[in-house]
């Protein structure tokens, strides 16, 4: 039930590029690589992305993700596998290679580091969020992932893809600009379905729209720790102190 104007607009524009969604240029369709070891979560994220007009490839581990991206242990990432990936969205807690480790591998690769990586986690731990953003993650989404989270990513991605198609290497500059303008974002309560349509009326930055309840008392620890009390805000900006952001979001309830 894709309900609002943003989604149907996207579908109209991708209609113009009929059948050309495998070509790296000239297609508006965003290709997302989703990485999650949970079968249920993979099914949900896949549907969330598809309903937001994204092409999706879903894999169950970091290793498989790297294989898909052409960055195996055995061979160096020479030439791209042909299916250009515009965004990688990965779970944080996974057996074997964590999302954080996957993020690092991607950012260390000269061929892949330009691809924006978004981390998802059920745990709203500031230290974790900061670490991921510092490593170059574009955004950090607290699970469970909602339609409004994906729409926000989608809006950001389409602008970014457009820029990359138009100008070579313009992606980085564009991202920096986006980050600078991601200050006080409009707070959108997440439970009522009506409000998510109002928050997507303009293409905003990967701005971290927080959800109503906020926990300021997160323990800052290097190892992932469960935080039972937090239902937490979504994803903070890397430029502002997380605490300040959280305060803003709590008063905008």
């Amino acid at each position: 039930m894709a309900r609002n104007g943003v989604i149907s607009w996207r579908r109209r524009s991708s209609d113009q590029f009929d059948g050309s969604d495998l070509s790296p240029c000239g297609s508006e369709e965003v290709h997302v690589l989703a990485v999650d070891d949970s079968l249920v979560d993979r099914k949900v994220i896949e549907r969330l992305l598809k309903i937001s007009s994204c092409k999706v490839t879903a894999v169950d581990s970091g290793i498989r993700a790297l294989q898909f991206l052409g960055l195996d242990e055995e061979k160096t990432a020479g030439d791209f596998n042909g299916l250009k990936v515009d965004l990688i969205i990965t779970d944080y807690c996974m057996p074997g290679m964590t999302g954080y480790e996957l993020l690092k591998k991607i950012k260390e690769s000269s061929t892949l580091r330009e691809i924006p990586v978004v981390i998802m986690s059920s745990e709203n731990v500031l230290a974790r969020i900061d670490r991921c953003l510092e490593e170059g993650a574009e955004d950090f989404i607290v699970k469970p992932v909602k339609l409004s989270d994906v729409k926000r990513l989608r809006d950001f991605m389409t602008r970014d893809v457009g820029d990359r198609v138009r100008s070579d290497g313009g992606g980085t500059t564009h991202k920096r600009k986006l980050q600078e303008s991601s200050d006080v974002s409009s707070c959108s309560p997440s439970i009522s379905s009506a409000s998510s349509s109002s928050s997507s009326s303009q293409p905003t930055t990967p701005s971290r729209s927080p959800s109503p309840s906020v926990s300021l008392s997160e323990p800052s620890s290097p190892s992932p720790s469960p935080s039972p009390r937090s239902t937490g805000p979504r994803s903070p900006s890397s430029l502002e102190s997380p605490t300040r952001r959280l305060k803003m979001s709590s008063c905008c309830d």
């Binding site: 079968l39 249920v40 309903i51 439970i191 039972p228």
Partner: protein, 155 residues
């Protein structure tokens, strides 16, 4: 029973699931992902959850029966269950998992075993509720009616 009546019953039942805390907002998200191109999405995801989690519960049971309980392993299983129950909006199952995890951290075997019982209880209760919900939906569709959209204004 005529279609209108069935639809009203479904609406009331669905509301009760939210009021009683069985479901939370994430379930509404799932419903939004269902459309004519994916008319069984909710049933599919929920069924997947119950299948997948049944195994997890068995693993949890045997992990807690070991001579030397590996609490990290137990916690990892509960974390997984917490995550997937949260993804489908099964709030009470999720909350039971949250409590369970705190006892894993404490390495309190007795409390963990109690928590496992509670989680299982909530799991089967939720399964029951979902089955009822889906049966009611099926009956409406079979009678030629459409499923009314869930409208939650305040709770």
């Amino acid at each position: 029973m005529e279609v209108g009546q069935m639809q009203r019953r479904l609406v009331e039942f669905t509301k009760s699931l939210f009021v009683e805390g069985f479901l939370d907002g994430q379930f509404l998200q799932l419903q939004q992902l269902q459309d004519d191109s994916n008319p069984d999405f909710v049933v599919e995801v929920v069924s997947l959850f119950f299948q997948d989690s049944e195994k997890l519960l068995n693993d949890l049971t045997s992990a807690l029966e070991q001579q030397d309980v590996d609490f990290k392993k137990v916690d990892a299983h509960v974390h997984q269950l917490k995550g997937s129950s949260s993804s489908i909006g099964a709030q009470r199952v999720k909350n039971a998992c949250v409590v369970f995890r705190s006892f894993c951290e404490e390495q309190n075997l007795q409390e963990c075993m109690r928590c496992l019982q509670l989680v299982k209880q909530e799991f089967y209760l939720a399964k029951n509720k979902f089955e009822t919900l889906f049966t009611m939906e099926q009956q409406i569709v079979a009678a030629g009616g459409s499923i009314p959209a869930t409208e939650i204004t305040s709770f």
